[in-house]
């Protein structure tokens, strides 16, 4: 139920407070998604989408951290 997947915002379709919507691409499959709860998210940003609503904007820097942590651990 808490399944949520990342997609990239391609176009903001409207800027209404509750109904802010965007076209979001999931590896090329485009869906209309409510992005009202991530008002800071703009075109080009990745968002986590759950049941048609974006609940979080992905942080690209933090996304890299898992790889950096492991590199640091394997470097003597």
């Amino acid at each position: 139920m808490c399944l949520a997947i990342p997609g990239c915002i391609e176009t903001i379709l409207n800027e209404d407070t509750l109904a802010r919507t965007a076209t979001v691409s999931f590896a090329g499959i485009r869906k209309t998604v409510n992005v009202a709860l991530v008002p800071e998210a703009q075109v080009g940003d990745y968002v986590i989408v759950h049941v048609g609503i974006a609940i979080s904007r992905l942080d690209a820097e933090q996304a890299q951290r898992i790889f950096d942590d492991l590199d640091a651990a394997s470097t003597p």
């Binding site: 808490c2 399944l3 590896a27 009202a36 709860l37 979080s56 992905l58 898992i66």
Partner: protein, 359 residues
């Protein structure tokens, strides 16, 4: 797919598994709270990569599994009304209530529709002004903003034929219930990343401190789960008990303030009954007075009779991490996805369904 495939990389997974094996010196029991994580663990056979001293038990984080049979009975009674279009996530349709499922109600003529998003139910309400459109709002904190969004939009549009049947649950009170129960074996938690993307992690700091238990907010891809396990083991081996955030790319410590505000505007916290577990204080959501006009139980004019039919499903023990699906004598024989005796065999996040499909 960006932000998914790189966390399924074999070399990364092997590296993490090796680090877990070198970090562990004694037996530990961890619980992954979320059913999505259970499925990833069984689907990718991550449990096979882990050392024998480490036991993963599966938690109650499947809202379909913990929705009370009485709530499903109410859903069926509402769906059978001729003026109702009943909308639900697909997972709920085959879950048995005290006697029947929504799918069986549909076979008796109920108009039951499977939706991807609660917002789709608003469109159905707009397009069917002569019908009462009911959305079965089931979920944890991850889904509460979507339910709240549908209700806020319905109120704004003054839709008078849209209703919700609520079955919302909160995760931290359930973790507290597990930790406080006699005979609890869980020594560390992988907490649900998407729940925390909404709520933030403050409640988990409190739990970690109060019960001296490490809690790692964890994502859903194989590398996320193994890194969550590693961070949890490292804390246990050092004798630490902190809330730590593995899923930083999606979870900010303070969560999503806009979503929290919307949920707060629409809902208030209430006691909630968890199927197979018990009633847990302050572990659910109900409508605020401004939104009570959307309560679908208003469509029922008399109380629902719930059959007190006992079956041998051990879902309560599975959802509390006491037993595994394979401990059940009916697993794979009397209870299969096409003939489920309990919800964990139905839901795409149920532990029994995960074991049945992947093991």
């Amino acid at each position: 797919m960006k932000y998914l495939s790189e966390y399924r990389d074999k070399q990364l997974i092997d590296t993490l598994a090796t680090r877990i094996r070198s970090a562990i010196t004694q037996p530990w029991v961890l619980m992954e709270v979320c059913g999505g994580q259970t499925h990833a663990i069984v689907k990718y056979a991550l449990d096979q990569l882990l050392p024998e001293q480490l036991q993963l038990v599966h938690g109650p984080g499947c809202p379909v599994c913990v929705t009370a049979p009485e709530t499903i009975d109410r859903a069926i009674a509402i769906a059978l009304r001729p003026d109702v279009i009943f909308c639900s996530f697909g997972d709920m349709l085959r879950v048995p209530g005290s006697e029947h499922s929504l799918q069986q109600a549909a076979s008796k003529g109920a108009d039951v529709r499977m939706l991807y998003s609660p917002l789709d139910a608003l469109d159905i309400a707009r397009n069917n002004p002569e019908s009462n459109v009911v959305f079965f709002a089931v979920g944890f904190e991850t889904t509460a903003p979507a339910s709240a969004m549908a209700l806020a939009q319905a109120r704004q549009a003054q839709l008078d034929n849209f209703y919700v049947l609520l079955s919302h649950f909160l995760v931290p009170p359930a973790m507290r219930c597990i930790l406080g129960s006699p005979g609890n074996q869980v020594q560390g938690f992988l907490a649900p990343g998407h729940v925390c993307a909404v709520t933030g992690i403050d409640d988990y700091h409190v739990l970690a401190q109060q019960y001296s238990v490490p809690i790692v907010i964890t994502g859903f891809e194989p590398a996320d789960i193994l890194q969550g396990v590693l961070h949890c083991i490292e804390q246990l081996e050092r004798g630490e008990s902190k809330a730590d955030n593995q899923y930083r790319r999606a979870v900010q410590n303070e969560g999503n303030a806009t979503a929290q505000q919307l949920v707060h505007d629409v809902f208030q916290v209430c006691d909630q009954t968890w199927r197979g577990i018990d009633t847990i204080e302050a572990s659910g959501l109900k409508l605020n007075p401004d939104y009570e006009c959307f309560d679908a139980t208003r469509l029922l004019h008399s109380p629902i009779q719930t059959a007190n039919r006992k079956n041998d499903c051990i879902s309560g023990e599975i959802l509390r991490g006491i037993k595994k699906p394979t401990h059940c004598p009916h697993f794979g024989t009397g209870c299969r996805p096409e003939h489920p005796m309990g919800a964990p065999m139905v839901s795409s996040e149920g532990a029994c369904a995960a074991y049945f499909h992947y093991q």
